[in-house]
Symmetry: C2
Subunit: 204 residues, 2 copies
DNA sequence: GTCTATAGCCAGATAGAC
DNA sequence: GTCTATCTGGCTATAGAC
């Protein structure tokens, strides 16, 4: 039975770096703070990852590789659009509740450095919407859903699911809710969002 | 007839700071870069705004005061929910197209420093959802729209309108579009988003 | 592999001439 | 009000002992 203490140093550093980078961003993070969190000294960070930039990239790729596969799995399975929307909404919200800093971290750092995504797109496991597009067109033709562009539908699903996490402080202020009430709002969205989307696109 | 050159130094600095802070964030911005952009030297920044922190706060409050009044105006006018959704969507997207860095800046900096919003909430012109809530309840009762919580509806409207700007690099990659194609997607959303929402909540 | 000490640089802030 | 020059502190990164 392994304890956390058995983790090797490299992993300790990566976990500490994840936590600091995701809450403060590349520019706001301090190597000293990462070292403190990992319980080792600054020199070790450079010994294992050479520079702040390389340590950051390790954390970023690691974070991104958590998000994309889940999206792909849902988009490319054999279920109907309606089921895809329901599964995605419920699963993705549950996932992000466990990793609340993740979407904001990804979005923020991609805005800071948009060229960065070019590297990611080379990866063969990167998101591919082709199958989803085809399916949307087919269901429209069959009269199952109303006409909508697959891209717009995809953006809507992403927006409705992810935005409440990214803009949490702003939305808490606007809706005048505290942390508990806001968590409840989010919890409700696991089904609310799917209903909202399905209501909009489904033909009676 | 005033030329840009007639602007006083304080304003020059604020505009330069706006541009740099909004694209790089508080931590990524450099006073030297702001001075260069304003065409003056670093000492002047401190002469007028004392510290980086205070200069940043001026920019932030300035940016925030652009967003909130527009929201309030739409939410508190006398039109129906449907018209509110249509007006808001079309106007807000047009507004953000002109200030593309604004939403991301606000969201990012509020995440970095969530206590900051407490100061903003004290402002009497801060967003108030009471009237909107009442109106949603009334239209539900009258059978004009389907039952939905006003907060969830509000979050949905915000998410669908703002997220495409905040997550632009990510969504461009996922939908495999270039800058022009993405601008077109956004342009289409001025009506698409309103239709999407109305379809979902309106009773036949 | 892990540590302490420090090099070297860069950013925010200030002093002081004009 | 505006400038140049400089201080001061903090940060990344490395040297070198163990």
């Amino acid at each position: 039975m392994r304890k956390a203490k058995d983790k090797n140093t490299e992993e300790l550093i990566l976990n500490a770096a994840k936590s600091i980078f995701q809450s403060k961003g590349m520019d706001g993070a301090r190597m000293q703070e990462i070292a403190d969190k990992a319980g080792i000294n600054k020199a070790m960070l450079h010994y294992y990852y050479r520079s702040k930039q390389l340590l950051f990239e390790s954390v970023f790729k690691n974070a991104f590789s958590l998000l994309a596969p889940q999206l792909n799995a849902v988009l490319n399975d054999e279920s109907t659009i309606e089921d895809k929307v329901r599964n995605f909404t419920s699963n993705y919200i549950a996932f992000i509740v466990k990793h609340p800093y993740l979407p904001n971290f990804i979005i923020q750092e991609l805005n800071r450095n948009p060229e960065f995504i070019i590297k990611l797109k080379d990866n063969p496991s990167f998101l591919n919407l082709d199958k989803f597009k085809l399916q949307v067109e087919q269901e429209i033709e069959k009269g199952i859903i109303k006409p909508i562009s697959a891209e717009q539908l995809f953006i809507n699903v992403m927006a409705l699911n992810i935005f409440p996490f990214v803009a949490k402080p702003l939305l808490m202020a606007f809706t005048d809710t505290d942390d508990n009430a806001y968590s409840q709002l989010i919890e409700d969205r696991k089904t609310e969002v799917a209903d909202f989307i399905i209501n909009s696109i489904k033909l009676k």
